[in-house]
């Protein structure tokens, strides 16, 4: 692959791997969702899982989250094999998964509440992350009073407030409008830079994946596998405004579309 070769950075060494997926297979009754899939997620980077509908992206993400059991294979987070959900990972849901009976601050603090942290302390932490996603003033609002974009900010603040090392995001922006989505993408880039966390990001959008990712894993169905790993290099350090005009950005978008085209009916 021409683009893969243009990747300047070599693949990170094992010490720098935050999440390591080894030989994962998953079957739902007859459907083979994943077969013998292996993939590494470097620490402090954002890796996108990109692929046609039904290729097993959500399945893989939920296995990493510990919400689903694989039929075989292992997932290691920080060198430890996982056996269920853990405080080292936090999930951001496509449909936000906010508790409609609880206000914003309680929703954001919910992860901390489940960890038994005292109310005043967890609300102070929640307050901070509510501010960091730009929702100051909405602490006492209920989810149904917020727009889709604001709801996802709540979901993001909740995931950030538990201070997990790995953030798992399943198409987090697919239910928000295009302009909000662009703002989210820019915010996400800033977040990856500032938070030194590992992000695993599922998306349908090729442009979005190339725009935000340090590494893009292309998943293909039948049988499900990682067909390609792309590491954009030249535009990552540039300012957000220039990325979409970068020749490498445009090349990668075209190349991914070329490999996915045949899977779109």
């Amino acid at each position: 692959m021409a683009i893969s070769q243009t990747s300047a950075q070599p693949l990170a060494s094992t010490a720098d791997i935050a999440v390591s997926v080894r030989n994962i297979s998953k079957k739902y009754n007859q459907t083979e969702a994943l077969r013998n899939l292996s993939l590494d997620f470097p620490k402090g980077e954002l890796t996108s899982l990109l692929g046609p509908s039904g290729c097993g992206k959500t399945t893989l993400l939920k296995i990493i989250a510990g919400l689903l059991d694989a039929n075989s294979g292992t997932v290691q987070v920080g060198g430890q094999t996982i056996s269920g959900p853990g405080p080292d990972r936090a999930f951001v849901f496509q449909d936000f998964a906010l508790m409609p009976w609880a206000n914003v601050i309680r929703n954001v603090a919910f992860g901390l509440e489940l960890r038994g942290i005292a109310k005043s302390e967890r609300e102070a932490i929640a307050e901070k992350y509510i501010a960091s996603v730009g929702l100051t003033g909405f602490e006492k609002s209920f989810p149904h009073e917020l727009s889709g974009g604001m709801r996802q900010r709540v979901g993001l603040a909740r995931a950030l407030s538990v201070n997990a090392q790995v953030l798992l995001l399943d198409e987090p922006f697919s239910a928000v409008d295009e302009q909000t989505r662009r703002k989210f993408q820019e915010d996400l880039l800033a977040l990856v830079q500032n938070e030194s966390k590992t992000f695993i990001f599922v998306t349908h959008s090729i442009e979005e994946a190339v725009y935000v990712s340090d590494q893009i894993a292309i998943l293909l169905p039948r049988p499900s596998r990682v067909s390609e790993i792309i590491r954009p290099s030249s535009f990552r350090g540039k300012s957000v405004d220039n990325i979409r005009r970068d020749p490498e950005y445009l090349d990668i978008v075209d190349q991914i579309w070329a490999s996915l085209r045949s899977y779109v009916e």
Partner: protein
């Protein structure tokens, strides 16, 4: 309701019906219907008597214990049925049988089993109320958003925590609906139980008044019961409206 541009208070149409009742009573068409004012006067006297207060407290006791048991057993059972396929398949047929069964026919059996007293009445009340509470809690849990449950799990909630922090609240609008209908059915249950046992509470009073043709007393007690039942049902719809803000947005 508006008349000539003035907003009438809720239920002011009842005044009209009371006047009609009064008229029929004054006409002395039948001994069965005394005038409304007579009934009210009797009621005022009656509520001050020991007999009435005893009947009311006995009824309130049986009613609240019966409802309490139905709620405490019914809600968790319904939630567990909604969560567990196995439990659901085991219990659902029974719930469906009992919810449609003519429970009145069962009261004589209960009398044999539990005696002619408060115990039988409590059990009758619970039997009237519990099934709809179970079914509604179950329905509430079955419509729960899967990702809400996954969210709780991913942030470290165990089964018990998920039960009372997610399942209960997510199903609360349905649960309250079930409790409201359950309470209305329990009013029937407690009165039917007392009538059949007929030596306790209002059952004893009804027995006394109707066999002595004390119609004003009879109607007065009936009026009290109707008002109480209505007030309880209204209070529960008020609670239901408090959670309605998220019932439609789940």
């Amino acid at each position: 309701m508006f008349i000539l541009g003035y907003k009438l208070p809720a239920m002011s149409s009842l005044i009209l019906w009371a006047l009609l009742w009064e008229a029929i009573g004054r006409l002395e068409l039948t001994f069965f219907v005394p005038a409304f004012s007579t009934v009210i006067m009797t009621l005022i006297e009656l509520v001050q008597t020991k007999v009435f207060q005893k009947a009311l407290s006995e009824t309130a006791y049986a009613f609240s214990v019966g409802i309490g048991a139905s709620v405490l057993i019914g809600i968790p059972t319904g939630i567990l049925m909604g969560k567990s396929r196995l439990l659901d398949e085991m219990l659902l047929p029974w719930v469906n049988i009992f919810i449609s069964a003519p429970l009145t026919a069962l009261v004589p059996v209960l009398m044999v089993l539990f005696g002619f007293g408060t115990k039988t009445i409590i059990i009758t009340t619970a039997l009237f109320a519990i099934w709809i509470i179970i079914l509604n809690a179950r329905a509430g849990v079955m419509q729960i958003n899967r990702s809400l449950v996954e969210m709780a799990r991913s942030f470290g909630a165990g089964p018990f925590t998920a039960f009372y922090k997610i399942y209960f609240w997510a199903a609360l609008p349905e649960i309250l609906g079930g409790v409201r209908i359950g309470v209305i059915r329990a009013v029937k249950g407690v009165i039917i139980g007392q009538l059949l046992v007929s030596i306790v509470g209002f059952g004893a009073l009804f027995e006394l008044y109707s066999s002595n043709f004390l119609m004003a007393h009879f109607w007065a007690v009936l009026l009290v019961l109707f008002t109480l039942a209505f007030a309880i049902a209204e209070f529960l719809s008020f609670l239901e409206r408090k959670v309605a803000f998220y019932a439609t947005k789940r």
